[in-house]
């Protein structure tokens, strides 16, 4: 714990000076400005924001996380020649990447909210978007670490990262539709629920939409989710699955980091 905090502190120092982290912050600032200053209806702005968050955050966390780990290879070697255990070093590096990413976009989005909304009656939505976005950052940074630890070739690793994003963020919806269309004669409800559990981006979307009861925008998986579990149980189950999604890739990359030859 003690050693991890020391590494973490220096890693955060390093990461917040990274120009991409600053650009990331500005990106969300301008998105926030555009949405809050020009949209009359607060809820609508948040639905748009949620869609951007579900799209952008996973790819940024995947690409930034894997590049960061590839560039740290020699540094990890050097750190491991110091008296430090692998677990502390791993959590120092991992949180040193994920936390600045989280701070960066939260700052970016919160400033325009307080500057450009007239009456702050959507703070609840803002907090929910922040929670979902932060969970997605934590999950996808861990997946990025997992890929970068498993695959030593940097360009292959980056390709895998982008591929994971393509499947989960883009192809997934089409795939679900295709399955429903092809097997329309069969009872598919449970299968579709299973599908949404294996996609953290979809879980994030369901979580947000059930919370605000915007069933029209929920999409097929979201509607089934709510029908099947009801609103309350739906929220409990989707948050439980989200937490599993946080624990699993972190645990697996920690295991890999412990065994890896540097």
């Amino acid at each position: 714990m003690h050693l991890m905090n020391k590494i973490l502190l220096y890693e955060i120092h390093n990461t917040i000076r990274n120009k991409w982290i600053i650009i990331y912050s500005f990106f969300f600032f301008f998105i926030g400005y555009a949405l809050f200053a020009f949209s009359g209806d607060g809820s609508k702005a948040f639905i748009s924001l949620m869609n951007i968050v579900l799209f952008i955050i996973p790819i940024v966390a995947l690409v930034f996380g894997s590049i960061f780990l590839y560039n740290s290879r020699e540094f990890i070697e050097m750190m491991l020649s110091q008296p430090i255990d692998r677990k502390s070093l791993f959590f120092g590096l991992y949180l040193g990447t994920a936390l600045p990413l989280i701070f960066s976009w939260i700052i970016g989005i919160t400033i325009p909210y307080f500057l450009f909304t007239v009456n702050y009656n959507n703070t609840e939505e803002l907090i929910l978007v922040i929670i979902i976005g932060s969970l997605l950052t934590i999950i996808f940074t861990a997946i990025a670490f997992l890929i970068a630890l498993k695959q030593d070739d940097k360009s292959k690793g980056l390709a895998y990262s982008i591929f994971v994003w393509l499947i989960l963020a883009i192809l997934y919806d089409g795939l679900v539709l295709l399955i429903i269309y092809t097997f329309e004669d069969y009872p598919l409800d449970k299968f579709i629920i299973g599908l949404s559990i294996i996609n953290p981006i979809d879980l994030g979307r369901i979580f947000f939409l059930i919370q605000f009861n915007i069933s029209a925008l929920m999409g097929y998986t979201g509607a089934i989710f709510q029908k099947f579990f009801g609103a309350n149980l739906g929220i409990v189950i989707s948050s439980f699955c989200m937490i599993l999604w946080v624990i699993l890739p972190v645990y697996l990359s920690l295991k890999l980091f412990g065994k890896k030859d540097f």
Binding site: H13, N14, R73, E74, F75, Q82, D261
Partner: protein, 234 residues
């Protein structure tokens, strides 16, 4: 003192080190030589716990290094390629390492002056040249006065002035009865510094002994030729 016992290491199916046993003595410079891919770096990394052993054991000062990391308080390591978080400065890395290590006598002034590093240590690593990064690595490895010094091709990126200063530094450390392990492809450097030579080929030790005994055995007057002869003999 480093004791290696029946050490084997495979990467996938590639056997890099084959059943290696050796002991490295205190107060001596031991040079590990061999062609590229012969297992020199893997041997060094197994002492540092950077690679996990398939079988065998490594003891440093009588302590088995398996599942232990505190023994690295006694080790200073200069890696082959130096790369650091690009937005941090040398001074920041130095203070990080200070926080991680315990039981050390810190003295950096002499090295900083000789390598003319004082200004460079305040610049972020992305603005430093390869040679300067290498000097920072040497500084970090030696400033904590470790009992064991491990150098993986340390002079590869250094200019002649720095390189000759570095060699003086190593000889001084040897006088202080340190255990020094060195890999290099520069034979003149090895001849200048090393007491013992370990010749590795395809993951096996083909020769271990003093430079004089190697020269006598091969009936050559130059180390380079003696080593080449060892390689050709296989």
């Amino acid at each position: 003192m480093v004791e290696i016992n029946k050490l084997s290491k495979k990467y996938n199916k590639n056997e890099i080190l084959k059943n290696i046993s050796l002991s490295i003595n205190k107060g001596e410079v031991t040079a590990v030589v061999g062609p590229n891919g012969s297992g020199k770096t893997t041997l060094i990394k197994s002492i540092l716990g950077l690679v996990k052993l398939n079988s065998g054991s490594v003891e440093v000062d009588g302590i088995n290094i398996k599942n232990n990391f505190t023994y690295k308080n006694n080790i200073g390591y200069v890696p082959q390629v130096a790369r650091y978080p690009e937005n941090l400065t040398g001074n920041e890395i130095l203070s990080l390492v200070k926080e991680l290590r315990t039981n050390y006598e810190f003295s950096s002034q002499k090295i900083i002056e000789s390598f003319k590093l004082s200004e460079e240590l305040n610049k972020p690593f992305k603005n430093l040249s390869g040679g300067t990064k290498q000097k920072v690595s040497i500084l970090i490895a030696l400033a904590f006065n470790p009992k064991i010094i491990i150098l993986d091709e340390p002079t590869a990126g250094l200019d002649p002035v720095s390189s000759s200063y570095f060699k003086d530094l190593i000889l001084e450390e040897k006088e202080k009865k340190k255990t020094i392990i060195l890999t290099s492809h520069i034979m003149s450097e090895i001849q200048e510094l090393a007491d013992e030579i370990i010749f590795l080929l395809d993951g096996e030790i083909k020769f271990k002994g003093t430079i004089t005994s190697l020269l006598e055995e091969s009936k050559e007057s130059k180390l380079e030729r003696a080593i080449a002869q060892l390689m050709l003999r296989e």
